[in-house]
């Protein structure tokens, strides 16, 4: 069955550093992959979508890569800020439904 793995342990980094989150998937060939941010008690909020024919996508301080050979996506936040602290979810998709990973909790310390 389809399986999505994200860093299970929380990621703690210092303000100003680059945060890198990993998403690996197996038994799946998604046409695209999305990243969402979720704050406690809130619904997920869309950040970025990258398609299978794109290697990299950027939006402001965010960068996402998508390696269909490795079956992996990396999500980078540069010049991180305490306000970036949240849980980040990856979601490979195709054929209608999005399947979410369990999320990685990021904590940025001032």
């Amino acid at each position: 069955s389809q399986k999505i793995e994200q860093n299970s342990e929380a990621l703690n980094i210092q303000e100003g550093k680059t945060a890198t989150l990993t998403c690996n998937y197996t038994n799946y060939s998604p046409a695209y992959l999305q990243w969402y941010r979720q704050d406690p008690g809130r619904g997920p909020v869309f950040l970025l979508l990258i398609r299978e024919n794109e290697k990299e996508k950027r939006k402001e301080r965010l960068k996402v890569t998508f390696d269909t050979t490795l079956k992996q996506s990396l999500f980078h936040i540069t010049a991180s800020q305490p306000a970036d602290s949240a849980t980040y979810l990856c979601a490979p998709g195709g054929g209608g439904k999005l399947i979410f990973g369990q999320g990685t909790e990021l904590s940025v310390k001032p």
């Binding site: 999505i4 994200q6 046409a31 695209y32 999305q34 008690g41 809130r42 619904g43 997920p44 909020v45 869309f46 979508l49 979810l89 998709g93 195709g94 054929g95 209608g96 439904k97 999005l98 399947i99 979410f100 990973g101 369990q102 999320g103």
Partner: protein, 115 residues
């Protein structure tokens, strides 16, 4: 606001009772999704509507769960004979993109607690 609206925001019920959760999507969005989320986990897919029809209901855990979207807008998730294991946050999302090829707009969720 013009976002996805879910009601109730909190629902406490007793084991064995029937529950309905409502989702008002963003106007004009053709796709509607239901997920449930347990503490510390990612959203778990339940069902996806394209218009009025369920395009994929493979995530519904058993026949106690049922969802409808009769006019292609508002959707209701119905849970019969609730069990304690049904306790979770139920999230609804809508999208203007058909076939799931774009971003989802989530509501704040309905927190269900089964005692």
């Amino acid at each position: 606001g013009a976002g996805v609206s879910q009601t109730p925001s909190n629902k406490v019920t007793e084991k064995g009772k029937y529950v309905e959760l409502r989702c008002d999507p963003i106007s004009g969005h053709t796709a509607l999704y239901w997920y449930r989320q347990s503490l510390g986990q990612g959203p778990e897919f339940l069902i996806y509507f394209q218009g009025t029809g369920a395009a994929d209901d493979s995530g519904l855990p058993n026949d106690r769960f049922f969802a409808v979207r009769p006019e292609g807008s508002v959707s209701t998730l119905k849970i019969q004979r609730t069990e304690r294991g049904d306790s979770a946050v139920y999230l609804c999302a809508s999208s203007p993109f058909s076939g799931g090829h774009g971003e989802l707009f989530f509501g704040e969720g309905s927190r269900l607690t089964v005692l």
